[in-house]
């Protein structure tokens, strides 16, 4: 039994170590605080380890991300403070209409740095940000995101679309503020 447990831990650690950078990155992006992300990761790891016997063996990264996201939504999000706390009302949120012609992508994307991208992402409301992170950065399927966030797949679809539109809007605001583009570009 002693060796069985040791083997289980070894197996879990081998898999967890491989996906841990993703888990930690997601935790930082969800919490927007490194300290909280560390706590979240530790708690998620403990939960995952204790539930490892129930892991179906399919996609370990998706399973871990599901635990992290669940834990964040049910526990950590409630603790957070600040203007970005709540999500936009999904019913009233702006449709992700095309932004065509507003800003040339080359200007917008070539000048932005990693920190600014992260800052823009952090300003996207929780539910939309979570969907974009899990989809675009972690490559989860819509079904996996639906499982992780415990919402219907249709909601995931709309959250991803709106999340991307909001992120683009944040990047535009940044580009305007930094003088990378002018208002005239928007009218062009």
């Amino acid at each position: 039994m002693l060796f069985g447990r040791r083997d289980k831990r070894d197996a879990f650690e081998r898999q967890a170590e491989r996906v841990f950078p993703s888990i930690f990155g997601t935790a930082v992006r969800l919490c927007r605080s490194r300290e909280e992300a560390e706590d979240l990761c530790q708690e998620a790891m403990v939960r995952a380890y204790e539930a490892y016997d129930r892991f179906d063996g399919s996609n370990f990264k998706a399973w871990m991300l599901r635990i992290v996201t669940n834990l964040y939504i049910n526990k950590y999000r409630q603790r957070q403070r600040g203007p970005q706390m709540g999500s936009l009302d999904e019913e009233n949120a702006a449709e992700p209409v095309g932004l065509e012609g507003e800003i040339p992508d080359r200007v917008l994307f070539d000048e932005a740095l990693g920190t600014e991208v992260e800052a823009a992402l952090a300003r996207v409301p929780d539910d939309f940000r979570t969907a974009v992170i899990l989809s675009d950065l972690e490559g989860l399927s819509y079904q996996e995101i639906a499982d992780a966030t415990e919402v219907p797949i249709g909601t995931v679809r709309s959250r991803i679309a709106r999340g991307r539109a909001l992120l683009r809007k944040e990047l535009e605001t940044y580009a305007l503020r930094e003088g990378l583009i002018k208002l005239a570009d928007l009218d062009a």
Binding site: M1, L2, R5, R6, R9, F12, E13, A16, E17, F20, P21, I23, F24, G25, V28, R34, A37, E38, C41, Q42, M45, V46, Y49, E50, E95, P96, V97, G98, L99, E100, D105, F109, A112, L113, G114, T115, V117, E118, L121, V132, S135, D136, L137, S141, Y142, R157, S158, I160, A161, R164, L167, R168
Partner: protein, 245 residues
């Protein structure tokens, strides 16, 4: 395009075959939709290439250490759970054995233990079976002790072992004022629960029923002198019996 969300689903490969065909047609005939498609695609790849990489090594080490800690705690929990009855039995036996050992081997006794020992004493040999030399020796102790006021006589000497294994001698004495009993119990270096007599700290006094008892320690034995007298006169006699005290 009426449903721009479908464009996102198309990029993410999340459309059904019917929807896929519909979007592909739309992309082919509508340049605005095609432009939007390109824009979403660029945003998606931009996010992947520009996202920061967070150093997670330290956090991983902490997590890994926690897993080891969890295993250790579980191991202890499991051992305790499985062996709870056994552990309880071991602890119980330790308490019982320790108590018995303490009872049998402790050099320190309480006043109640002394009372029990004195009242439960069953002699194995009495003075009648003592040799004349023994009796003379015993007589000598007491008569040599008193040159002064009162003479003390030994009426009987008894010896036996207590339940605790201690050797006990009982001397039945008398002097002009009446009978006395002197009990000498081996293996005692301290008597608790009796009052220190006056300023003479080596003597302790207490009452056992109608009688007064004076106790002191002599050569690793507890000596108890009991009579129906006041403690002062018993201490005076004690000093004569054991002048080296």
């Amino acid at each position: 395009m009426n449903e721009p969300i479908k464009l996102h689903c198309f990029i993410d490969g999340e459309l059904s075959a019917d929807e896929l065909r519909q979007v592909e047609l739309e992309l082919a005939k509508n340049p605005a939709v095609a432009a939007e498609y390109e824009r979403i695609l660029r945003l998606k790849s931009f996010l992947v290439t520009h996202a920061e990489t967070f150093d997670s090594e330290e956090t991983w080490k902490i997590c890994s250490a926690r897993l080891v800690e969890i295993d250790r705690t579980k191991r202890v929990d499991r051992f305790v759970t499985r062996n709870a009855w056994g552990l309880c039995a071991v602890i119980f036996c330790s308490i019982v054995v320790g108590g018995l050992w303490q009872r049998n081997n402790s050099a320190s006794v309480s006043n109640t233990e002394v009372a029990t020992m004195m009242s439960s004493f069953t002699p194995e040999r009495s003075g009648k079976t003592f040799t004349s030399d023994e009796k003379k020796w015993v007589q000598g102790i007491f008569s040599s002790a008193e040159n002064s006021i009162k003479k003390i006589w030994v009426d009987e000497v008894m010896e036996g072992r207590l339940d605790t294994g201690r050797l006990m001698r009982r001397y039945k004495l008398h002097d002009a004022e009446g009978p006395m009993v002197l009990d000498v119990i081996g293996g005692i270096t301290n008597v608790n629960g009796m009052n220190v007599h006056g300023t003479d700290e080596q003597y302790k006094s207490g009452r056992f029923g109608e009688s007064t008892t004076i106790a002191w320690i002599k050569d690793g034995s507890g000596v108890f002198l009991t009579a129906q007298r006041d403690p002062e006169s018993l201490v005076e006699i004690a000093k004569k019996i054991c002048p080296s005290n």
